[in-house]
């Protein structure tokens, strides 16, 4: 009898006040500025100017931070010719330089895997640490792997703070100011394409690439995740990514999927094309092909 009396009763009043509180809470959290392009213009301009001032001061050079957004009618894709790649790693170091990756501890966005021709594309037995006097080695071929810019990206789904997302032009980006360093995205990525800054990244004086993008190669703090952005600072300005231009054998191809005259469309339509770990349904925008 007593127990029945003391049981909490949900009255109309408590229900409606709880609902009102929840709505107010939702409003408070959801209405604040979230992403770069949801910032009011004036505030964005101010905070970018402040960032530029900080970076310039710290690195002793005039650093610019672009906030260029995706061009309409553009979806980027990449293709890499495995019959050409000789595993020289020129792309790895061009990327480090262009994108201000930490030199010590070393952080590389591109990993070149050496594989045996007899085994074919076999990620389980691939060796990223090969170091012969000369490449290509007899009986080997090379598969450079970086962010695959997936259409169905597992990394963006697990981020608890919404710090990583896919832009309209298909680039999966990270806002380093929102990243809390939980590394869920690294666990979710099946390609090992995301890298964590365990320490303050170190870029030697005078080697900083001062032309940066907010969502790309701007200097990173310690404790955030970073990865390939197709050189967002270059491609949104119409240029090729740094790895494409440096490749001595011309194995790397880049372009707009929505342009039917682009190199990338020619490759997909005329060559034998595949993606890594197709069975995971990540739907990469990074294709591998054999031109011969």
């Amino acid at each position: 009898m007593d127990a029945e009396k003391n049981a909490p009763k949900l009255t109309r009043r408590t229900f409606s006040s709880c609902a009102a509180a929840a709505a107010a809470g939702w409003l408070l959290t959801a209405c604040g500025p979230r992403r770069l392009h949801e910032f009011p213009k004036e505030r964005l301009r101010k905070s970018i100017a402040e960032l530029e001032r900080q970076y310039s001061e710290r690195h002793g050079a005039k650093v610019t931070v672009s906030t260029a957004s995706a061009q309409p009618g553009v979806e980027f894709a990449y293709a890499l010719d495995l019959s050409r790649c000789i595993g020289c790693r020129r792309c790895v170091y061009a990327c480090v330089k262009e994108n201000n990756q930490s030199r010590n501890p070393q952080l590389h966005w591109i990993k070149v895997l050496s594989m045996e021709k007899e085994k074919g594309v076999d990620l389980a037995h691939a060796d990223p640490y090969y170091q012969p006097a000369q490449v290509p080695e007899e009986g080997h071929f090379y598969v450079p792997v970086s962010c695959q810019q997936c259409r169905n990206a597992p990394c963006t789904k697990v981020c608890p703070t919404g710090a990583t997302w896919t832009e309209r032009d298909g680039i999966v980006v990270i806002d380093y100011d929102w990243c809390i360093g939980c590394r869920y995205c690294m666990a979710a990525c099946p390609y090992g394409a995301r890298h964590f800054n365990w320490t303050e990244p170190s870029v030697p004086e005078g080697e900083l690439n001062t032309s940066t993008h907010y969502l790309g190669n701007r200097p990173r703090p310690k404790g955030v995740v970073e990865k390939c952005t197709f050189c967002i600072q270059r491609v949104r300005a119409g240029r090729y990514p740094a790895c494409v231009e440096v490749c001595p054998v011309g194995a790397r191809k880049f372009g707009n999927l929505l342009d039917k005259d682009s190199e990338i469309r020619y490759i997909i339509e005329h060559k034998r094309v595949f993606v890594l770990k197709k069975d995971l349904n990540t739907v990469p925008r990074f294709f591998y092909f054999y031109a011969t």
Partner: protein, 181 residues
């Protein structure tokens, strides 16, 4: 009857349209072919400076005195200098048909045998590109990457391998802070 004619006409229009489109596309790609000057060894061009006053010797032989550094490893069983270089005009190359081709357009000569590579190159798929993905690109001639006399790529020294991850590799202060700026 009339219906059949209509179908035939429609079919023709369709295919005709495709051809026009393809021609336009090819023309466009031709316009874009902006190539740097051919990679001559220093002081070697124009060839006629020396060759003008020399008699033409068409016999296959080991060269002595000049061009000794050129080792032909490019279907050498069947090829000889004058298959590509023009004996009449030393500053030019020629196609199999005899049509002269300048060194700037040497890709036409290479494309006689390597047609599928020429096609890929024109489409921007074979070879290295620099410039803009949506605008002007600069192409390279075949000879910029492949030595025409020994076209196979030479092996090169790779850049250093990445460091293996290890705790020791990290600076000592790593374990202090968690999320410092």
């Amino acid at each position: 009857m009339r219906l059949a004619m209509l179908f035939a006409l429609a079919g023709f229009a369709c295919f005709g349209g495709k051809d026009v489109e393809r021609a336009q596309r090819e023309q466009r790609t031709d316009e874009r072919l902006e190539v740097p000057p051919p990679p001559f060894s220093e002081g070697i061009f124009p060839c006629s400076t020396c060759h003008q006053s020399m008699p033409t010797n068409r016999t296959r032989r080991i060269l002595s005195g000049m061009h000794e550094e050129i080792v032909l490893k490019h279907d050498e069983q069947h090829r000889w200098c004058l298959d590509c270089h023009d004996a009449g005009n030393r500053d030019s190359l020629h196609l199999a048909s005899g049509e002269p081709v300048s060194f700037e357009e040497s890709y036409r000569l290479c494309g006689q045998c390597h047609g599928e590579k020429l096609r890929d190159w024109k489409a921007g798929v074979h070879g290295r590109r620099t410039g803009s993905w949506n605008g002007a690109k600069s192409y390279l001639l075949c000879a910029h990457c492949h030595n025409p006399h020994q076209p196979r790529f030479r092996a090169i020294r790779p850049e250093p391998a990445p460091q293996r991850p290890s705790r020791q590799a990290l600076p000592a202060n790593t374990r202090k802070g968690t999320h410092g700026r």
